[in-house]
C-alpha cells in the first residue's frame, strides 16, 4: 500500500486517499489517460476489474477498479468525472486493458459518455436507436419515447459502427462497417441450442474456419441495476439470484456481505458457515452443469444427463432447507433466512462420497475418451497475459495459470476456517478449462467436508432494523462465484435504496475472451470453447 501511494505522488494532478484496502485516485478528465498509463505501466495494475459509470447529478463520472496481479488484495479506484451533460467525452483506455472495450461500451450505453478513440461506440445492451440514457438520474422512462417496434428489421442495421476521434481538439464522429460485403456471416443466436442463453454471436466464416466474431448482447436485459435504485436492500437481494442463475446463492451472498460491511454488522459464525457450505454446493452444482453442457455441446448427451442427475441431489438439499431449488433465496442481510433443516448435515455428508465416486465415473466416460481428448487438447489457447488483460477471472483464468481466487485473496465468510487449494493449471487450453472444473468440485467437497461437522451453535442471523439504510459512502465487495470474480459496488446516500449499484459480471469478459481463443479455429471449436468458458448470459444482460 505504501509503495503504491509513494509512486502515485509522482502524479501531481491526482488526489489520492485511502479507504480500507482501496486506494481512491481522483483525476481531472484531461489527465485520465495519462493516469491510466501511469497505473498500467509504473504501478503494474494489469487487471481492470470493472468500470462503474455513475451520475453524480452535477456531473457524470466513471470509476475504474484496478488491481495488480502480484498484490491482488490491493485495489485502486481511478475516478474521474465530466460536467458536460450534453456531449460528455472521456478518453478511452481500451488499448491498455482488453477488457475495457466492452466496459466502456456499457458505460456509453447507460450514461451516454462517449469514449474518444474507442473503435466501437455502439450501444452494448440497448437498441442503437434507443432514446435516453437509463442510468442518468434525469432519464425519462416514458414508454411512448421508446415504442416496441412492430416491423421486421434487417440485421444489417447493426453493422454501422460509430467511433469518436479527436481532430484538432474537436470530436469527429466516424462510421465504419464491421463486415465486408462478401463475407459469409452466420448468426449463432439469439435462439440457438448452444449459446447458453440468448447470446447473439455474428460469426464470419471461411469454410469451416472462424474469421471474426461480433458478440451482441441485451436480448434479455432486465435493467436490474436501474430497478435496484428504487428497491430497498432486502428487495434487491431477490434480483441478485437472477443474475447468474447458476451461482445465485453466491451473488446474493456478495450483496449481503457488502451491506453488512457498510452497516458494520456482526454476522453470527453459524450463518457464515451455512453460507459458505451453500456457496460451495452452488459451485459444485454449477460446475456439474457446466461439465454436462460442455459435453453436450460436443455431442455427448449422455454426459449431460449424468451431470444433471448429480446436480439434482444438490438441488434437493437446497429445497429441503430453503424451499428454493435453482434460486435458493437463502441469504439475508445479517445471516440466513432460517435455520438449516435437521436432515441437512446428514444429506450433505452422504453427498460427498457419492460425488467423489461419480466424478471417477465422469472421468471414465468423458475425460478419458479419445475423441473428447482429441477435440479439447491443443485448441482455444489463452495465455496468462491474455486472460489478465481480458479480465477472464475464475476457472477460465486459473486454467491459464492466473491465480485469481478471491476465496484465497480476500477470504470472506468461513473460508479462513477451511484448508483448501486453489486449483491452477498452466497451459490455458480448452482441456485445462474443462478439467479444472472437475478438480474444483473435489476441492469444494474438501471445503464442505471440513465445515459440515463444525457448524457452530447459536443464532443463524443477526438482528437488523426493520428498514435497512446504508450509511453514506461507497462500498465494494468481491466474491468468487462459479464463473469468476463477482463484485458489488454500492454508492449510498443514506437512503433505504442505493444511489447506484453495479455488479461486475464475470461472464461479459468471458464472452470477450472467446474471440482471441477462437479466431482461426473451426465452427465446432467455437461452440466447444464457448462452453469451456462457461458463460451464463443473464449474468451479462443484467
Amino acid at each position: 500500500m505504501g509503495m503504491m501511494n509513494e509512486k502515485l505522488s509522482a502524479l501531481a494532478f491526482a488526489f489520492v486517499e485511502e479507504n480500507g484496502k482501496t486506494l481512491n485516485v481522483t483525476v481531472p478528465k484531461e489527465n485520465l489517460y495519462e493516469a491510466a498509463v501511469f497505473l498500467r505501466k509504473e504501478c503494474n495494475c494489469d487487471f481492470l476489474m470493472d468500470i462503474v459509470g455513475i451520475d453524480y447529478t452535477e456531473s457524470l463520472g466513471t470509476i475504474y477498479y484496478l488491481s495488480n496481479t502480484q498484490n491482488p488484495a490491493q485495489l485502486v479506484a481511478l475516478k474521474t468525472s465530466t460536467t458536460d451533460r450534453e456531449d460528455p467525452l472521456l478518453d478511452s483506455v481500451h488499448d491498455l486493458w482488453d477488457s475495457a472495450g466492452l466496459y466502456e461500451r456499457e458505460v456509453h450505453d447507460f450514461l451516454g459518455i462517449r469514449f474518444i478513440n474507442h473503435p466501437d461506440m455502439r450501444r452494448l445492451f440497448l437498441r442503437q436507436d434507443w432514446k435516453g440514457y437509463p442510468l442518468r438520474k434525469d432519464y425519462d422512462a416514458n414508454p411512448a419515447l421508446n415504442p416496441v417496434p412492430l416491423e421486421n428489421e434487417l440485421i444489417e442495421d447493426m453493422e454501422a459502427v460509430p467511433a469518436v476521434e479527436l481532430k484538432m481538439g474537436q470530436p469527429v464522429e466516424t462510421i465504419h462497417k464491421l463486415f465486408e460485403e462478401d463475407e459469409y456471416i452466420v448468426n449463432f443466436g439469439p435462439q440457438h441450442p448452444a449459446t447458453h442463453g440468448v447470446l447473439h454471436l455474428r460469426v464470419s466464416l471461411e469454410g469451416e474456419i472462424v474469421k471474426k466474431i461480433d458478440p451482441n448482447f441485451g436480448y434479455i436485459h432486465r435493467g436490474i441495476e436501474k430497478m435496484s435504485e428504487t428497491y430497498t436492500y432486502p428487495q434487491i437481494l431477490h434480483l441478485t439470484d437472477r443474475l447468474d442463475y447458476l451461482s445465485g446463492t453466491i451473488n446474493r451472498h456478495a450483496v449481503c456481505l457488502c451491506c453488512e460491511k457498510a452497516l458494520k454488522l456482526e454476522v453470527p459464525e453459524r450463518a457464515h458457515y451455512i453460507r459458505t457450505i451453500f456457496d460451495e454446493l452452488t459451485r459444485i452444482a454449477s460446475h456439474l452443469l457446466g461439465w454436462g453442457c460442455m459435453a453436450m455441446d460436443m455431442g455427448s448427451i449422455t454426459a449431460f444427463v449424468y451431470g444433471m442427475r448429480d446436480r439434482e441431489k444438490i438441488m434437493d438439499i437446497f429445497e429441503e432447507t430453503s424451499g428454493g431449488r435453482l434460486m435458493a433465496n437463502y441469504s439475508v442481510i445479517g445471516g440466513v433466512a432460517w435455520d438449516i433443516h435437521p436432515n441437512f448435515q446428514r444429506k450433505v455428508k452422504e453427498l460427498i462420497p457419492y460425488l467423489r465416486k461419480m466424478l471417477k465415473e465422469h472421468h471414465l466416460l468423458f475425460t478419458g475418451n479419445p475423441i473428447a481428448r482429441g477435440r479439447m487438447e491443443g485448441v482455444g489457447h489463452l495465455s496468462k497475459e491474455q486472460v489478465i488483460s481480458l479480465g477472464a477471472t475464475g476457472p477460465s483464468g486459473r486454467a491459464s495459470g492466473w491465480s485469481n481466487d478471491i476465496r484465497k485473496i480476500e477470504p470472506y465468510a468461513a473460508y479462513r476456517r477451511a484448508d483448501f487449494n486453489e486449483v491452477l493449471r498452466q497451459d490455458g487450453m480448452t482441456f485445462d478449462r474443462y478439467i479444472i472444473r472437475l478438480d474444483e468440485i473435489l476441492e469444494s467437497l474438501n471445503i464442505i467436508e471440513q465445515l459440515i461437522d463444525n457448524i457452530p451453535e447459536g443464532p443463524y442471523a443477526a438482528k437488523t432494523k426493520a428498514i435497512i439504510r446504508l450509511p453514506e459512502g461507497e462500498f465494494f465487495q468481491r466474491v468468487e462465484n462459479a464463473r469468476g470474480e463477482f463484485d458489488v459496488y454500492i454508492n449510498s446516500k443514506g437512503d433505504k435504496s442505493p444511489y447506484r449499484i453495479k455488479f461486475r459480471s464475470p461472464c461479459l469478459t468471458l464472452v470477450n475472451s472467446l474471440i482471441p481463443a477462437t479466431v482461426g479455429s473451426k465452427v465446432a471449436d467455437l461452440i466447444m470453447i464457448g462452453a469451456s468458458l462457461d458463460y451464463v448470459v443473464p449474468c451479462i444482460d443484467r
Binding site: 459469409y184 452466420v186 440457438h192 441450442p193 448452444a194 466464416l205 469451416e208 459435453a295 453436450m296 455441446d297 460436443m298 455431442g299 455427448s300 448427451i301 449422455t302 454426459a303 444427463v305 449424468y306 442427475r309 466416460l365 468423458f366 475418451n369 475423441i371 473428447a372 482429441g374 477435440r375 473451426k522 465452427v523 465446432a524 471449436d525 467455437l526 461452440i527
Partner: protein, 353 residues
C-alpha cells in the same frame, strides 16, 4: 424350421390358379411393394422406440412410459403427430428442389431396403450384383442431403450439407472396400449366394483376420454413413441447430427422420448378412447335435437377432461418444481407415489364393 417360403408359395399358387400368369406376376409385384413399404414404416417406429428406450437405459432414465404399456405406442402417437403437422412453405427457398430432396433420401433408403434378404423366401431384389446395387443405391441419399441443404437457402443447412457431402463420399470408400474384401472371399456379389456360402461357418470366422478387420472397418464406416453420433456432423445440433434439415417440417422432416433410422437398420442388416451369415443359423463344423438345435430356430429370427445386435452396437456408440470435428473425421477416413481397408483387401486376396 419355419421359413416364409410356406406363405409366399401359397400366395403364388393361389394367384396363379385364379388368374393369368402375367396378371399374377403383376399382383405379386404390387403386393411386394406394399409389404416393403409397410415393413419399412413399422420397423422405423420400432427402431425409434428401441433407440429411445436404449438411450434412456444408458442415461439412467426410464424413457417413454406413458402411451400404452411400457410406452410401446409412443412412436405410433409420434407418427400421427408428424403426419398432422403443417408443411411450412419456406420463403426464398427453391420450392422444387426443396420438395424433391426429402423424397430422394427416402427413395434411396427404400431401394436399399428391398435388397435385404430377411429370410430364404423373403428377398425381394436378388441381383447377381447385389452388393454393387446396395452401394450404388445407398449413395443416392447424399444427393438428397446436398439438395436439402442447398435449396433451403439457409447458412446452417448449407454448412451441414457440405459437411455431409464430404463425409458420405469419403466413408463410402471404406464401406465399399470392406465389403469387397468379403466379395473376394466368397467370389460372388449375389446376396443370396453370400448367405448360402455361410452355411458351414459365418464369414467373420471363416475369413480369418482380414474378415475381422473388414468387419470393424465396415462398422465404423457404415456408422458414419448413417450420419449418427459420433459422426453426426451434418446435423450437429449444438452447432448447426439441425444441419441440413433445419428448415423442414411435418412429414418432410419425417422422411429424413425415418430414413436416418432405417439406414441404421439397413447398414446393420448388411453387416449381419455379409459378415454374420444373414438368416443362416450358427453352425460349427463337426458339432452335428448343436447345429441341429440351431436349425430349429427360424431364419428370420436369426436375421433380426443379428441385425438388432449390430443396431445395439450403433446405439451404444451413439450414446457414449462425443462428436468428431470435421478435420478429424476426414483424417480418420483418408489416413487410417482407407489405407487399412486397401491393405486388408490385399491380405484377403493372399488368404484366398
Amino acid at each position: 424350421m419355419f421359413d416364409f417360403g410356406v406363405v409366399t408359395n401359397w400366395i403364388d399358387l393361389f394367384l396363379r390358379s385364379n388368374m393369368s400368369e402375367n396378371m399374377a406376376l403383376f399382383v405379386e409385384f404390387v403386393l411386394v411393394g406394399f409389404a416393403i413399404l409397410a415393413v419399412y414404416a413399422v420397423l422405423a417406429l420400432l427402431l425409434i422406440y428401441i433407440e429411445r428406450k436404449v438411450c434412456a437405459f444408458f442415461q439412467c432414465r426410464i424413457g417413454p412410459n406413458r402411451v400404452g404399456p411400457w410406452g410401446l405406442i409412443q412412436s405410433v402417437a409420434d407418427m400421427v403427430k408428424i403426419l398432422l403437422k403443417e408443411l411450412i412453405k419456406i420463403d426464398r427457398a427453391d420450392p422444387v428442389l426443396f420438395r424433391i430432396a426429402s423424397f430422394l433420401v427416402i427413395i434411396a433408403s427404400i431401394c436399399t431396403f428391398g435388397a435385404i434378404p430377411f429370410d430364404p423366401a423373403l428377398h425381394a431384389v436378388d441381383f447377381n450384383i447385389g452388393i454393387f446395387y446396395l452401394l450404388a443405391v445407398s449413395s443416392l441419399g447424399v444427393v438428397g442431403i446436398l439438395l436439402a441443404g442447398w435449396s433451403s437457402n439457409n447458412k446452417y443447412t448449407m454448412i451441414g450439407a457440405m459437411r455431409s457431402g464430404a463425409q458420405l463420399i469419403s466413408y463410402e470408400l471404406s464401406c465399399g472396400l470392406s465389403l469387397m474384401t468379403i466379395v473376394i472371399l466368397s467370389g460372388t456379389m449375389q446376396l443370396s449366394e453370400i448367405v448360402n456360402q455361410q452355411s458351414e461357418m459365418w464369414f467373420l470366422f471363416k475369413g480369418h483376420i482380414p474378415a475381422l478387420i473388414a468387419f470393424v472397418i465396415y462398422l465404423i464406416a457404415s456408422h458414419a454413413e448413417t450420419n449418427r453420433g459420433p459422426f453426426d456432423l451434418p446435423e450437429a445440433e449444438s452447432e448447426l441447430t439441425a444441419g441440413y434439415h433445419t428448415e423442414y417440417s411435418g412429414i418432410q422432416f419425417g422422411f429424413f427422420y425415418l430414413a436416418e433410422y432405417l439406414n441404421m437398420f439397413i447398414v446393420a442388416a448388411i453387416a449381419a448378412t455379409v459378415f454374420l451369415g444373414g438368416w443362416m443359423p450358427l453352425h460349427i463344423p463337426g458339432w452335428e447335435g448343436f447345429n441341429g438345435i440351431m436349425d430349429k430356430i427360424p431364419p428370420f429370427i436369426w436375421f433380426f437377432g443379428k441385425t438388432f445386435f449390430c443396431v445395439f452396437l450403433a446405439l451404444w456408440i451413439r450414446w457414449s461418444f462425443p462428436r468428431l470435428r470435421i478435420d478429424q473425421l476426414l483424417h480418420l477416413e483418408w489416413k487410417i481407415l482407407m489405407p487399412l481397408a486397401l491393405i486388408n483387401i490385399l491380405l484377403m486376396a493372399l488368404c484366398v489364393i
